[in-house]
Amino acid sequence: MTRNPKLSIVLIVYKMPRQALNTIYSLSINHQKNVRETDYEIIVVENLSSDNLDGDAVCAIGNNIRYFPRNETSASPVGAINFGIEQCRAPAICLMIDGARMVTPRVIEYALMARNIDQDFLLAVPGYNIGPHEHQYNISRQYDQETEKRLLETVKWKTNGYRLFDICNISGANEKGIFHPLLECNCMFSSAQNFERIGGANMDFQLPGGGSINLHMFRQLGMLKQTRYYFITPGEGSFHQFHGGITTQEAEDREEVLESHRKQLHSYWEGGFHAMRREPILLGAVGSKAQSFLHYSSKKARKRFGWMRNGGKHPWIDDFNLFASANFNT
């Protein structure tokens, strides 16, 4: 048992035992580098369904894992998120709203570093999808769990987690790379106090899968005055495994579902919702596997900066609005 962890990770699971076990392994000390098992704890909160994790198998992965199965009548994970946050014992929290996202080996090391720089940090690990396409095209492009299992076996990711970069595509949430505003983040870190400041997960987000709760929370955390620094890991990633999620599988009514999410989200933000436009501070090494994505991001960044300059627009207007007097960037 980890007594005084520096970081608590809240991982929400629902009907995805195979994927969640991979995710937990990727977060565990078997896979994470340059940290100790006692530095952090992994809080797995599972809303019970017809297809659950084996609690013993989860806890066997490491000594810093706590498993909480719970009954939930709602189709939203917001209750589970707040339950998870309540269990956290560390001053910093990582929220992974979708248990199907595996991470690379230095995510936790870098999060602890970001916290050393400023305790009210926000750190985002960019998202990718396992496989050649976004998962909402699974049927038309014949991608299924079996294909994914084979893919994961081929790269032997447990020996080197960075190989996940070899079998992935960039997520739609940040399809233009890390120098464009990130629409959402499924592996975000901040202080426990910041999570408290935003009131945890808003219980109004009761749509299946939580609707756009993660977009909402990410921007809320980033728009806090206390969040002076917003870090991004250019060389680390969180990788979505296929599991039939609400927005990550092919369905005829997908657009309708998304529209209901959007509608709710827009209603919470004056002038409608848009991605948070804050300048990211890069943090961490970029290895051989992630380099092509940095290259891609840099190409896209040059275009974006070009448009913004021609249009006389500030590329990171939210920084300007939040910290105009501090003159954070150009």
Binding site: I117, Y162, E279, A285, Q291, F305, N327
Partner: protein
């Protein structure tokens, strides 16, 4: 009670008053962002010559600037560097061995961030040259040209514009994902400098010869320096000043040969090898610096490809460290 200083920056100056004033301005709180004047000090050590800094002009740039002029009978800045170390009041020190290198506005902010992660590690700001081409190659480049170039960019208002008028430095011509040969704007803890014996005064050649290459590699080889922090969006920019290795002259190779030999004699082998450690990126990359990130990334892809093909480790100098680094794909 006053809070202790967080950083001391040593700037070594010799016969470059115009350039040094620009450098000190770039380091001052007039130009550095997100750091307060009282959080750091700038220690300017000038070896006397017939062409010296105007002290009054210098001290008007900030209350945290301390100026020291000294007699030096030799040709090397090594003793001036050590004198600078003896004056530092902070436990984290930036060393600019060549006072002609201006820096971008968030160098000190990020240095403090690196310090809060691990103060004994090196924090290195990549080097660039002002002008379209490398200064020792371009025979048409002159101080006059540079003055015009600088005044056009209005760099005092936005130091990142220096990227618009610069080329990549010869110390890291393939970008910052390749091993660094040297660094002219580096930070580490007082303890780390002490561990390497500060500046070795045996480096008596003009300009110190290979002293900064030597110090950079020594610092990077320390067992208790787990990271090599590199700023992808900040730079140090060399101004033309007739420096030993940065001026086009017929006898350049002749002059550079003995210092090279000295350096090799310290490290063994046939040639001096750059420190091959995995760079740890720290900092934002804005519109001005982005083209150099793109270039560095392109070169990195090639290097990783070549190393993988030849089954060579990416960062052999990291083997000494206990922490994980990606060595093979």
């Amino acid at each position: 009670m006053k809070a202790p200083l967080k950083i001391s920056v040593i700037v070594i100056v010799y016969r470059m008053p115009r350039q040094a004033i620009n450098t000190i301005y770039s380091l001052s709180a007039l130009h550095q962002r997100n750091i307060k004047e009282e959080e750091y000090e700038i220690i300017v050590v000038e070896n006397r010559s017939e062409n010296m800094i105007d002290q009054q002009q210098l001290l008007a740039l900030g209350k945290n600037i301390r100026y020291f002029s000294r007699e030096e009978s030799g040709h090397s800045p090594a003793a001036a560097i050590n004198y600078g170390f003896s004056l530092c009041r902070a436990d984290y020190i930036g060393l600019l061995i060549d006072g002609a290198r201006m820096v971008t506005p968030r160098v000190l902010e990020y240095a403090l961030q690196a310090k809060s992660i691990d103060k004994n590690s090196i924090f290195a700001v990549p080097g660039y040259n002002l002008g379209a081409e490398k200064q020792h190659i371009d025979s048409h480049y002159s101080e006059e040209k540079e003055i015009r170039l600088l005044s056009k960019t209005n760099w005092q208002q936005n130091g990142y514009r220096l990227f618009d008028i610069a080329n990549i430095g010869e110390a890291n011509p393939r970008g910052f994902f390749q091993p660094f040969m040297e660094n002219n704007c580096l930070f580490s803890s007082l303890g780390s400098y002490e561990n390497i014996g500060f500046a070795d005064e045996n480096f008596h050649f003009l300009g110190g010869g290979g002293l900064n290459l030597h110090m950079f590699r020594l610092l990077g080889t320390l067992a208790n320096a787990p990271y090599l922090f590199v700023t992808p969006g900040e730079g140090s920019f060399h101004q033309y000043h007739g420096g030993v290795s940065t001026t086009p002259r017929a006898d350049r190779e002749e002059i550079l040969a003995p210092p090279r030999k000295q350096l090799v004699s310290y490290w063994g082998g046939d040639t001096f090898k750059a420190l091959q450690r995995e760079p740890f990126l720290l900092g934002a990359v804005n519109s001005h610096a982005q083209k150099f990130l793109l270039y560095s990334s392109q070169r990195a892809l090639k290097r990783f490809e070549r190393k993988t093909r030849n089954n060579e480790p990416f960062w052999p100098s990291d083997f000494k460290q206990k922490r994980y680094t990606e060595h093979f794909s």
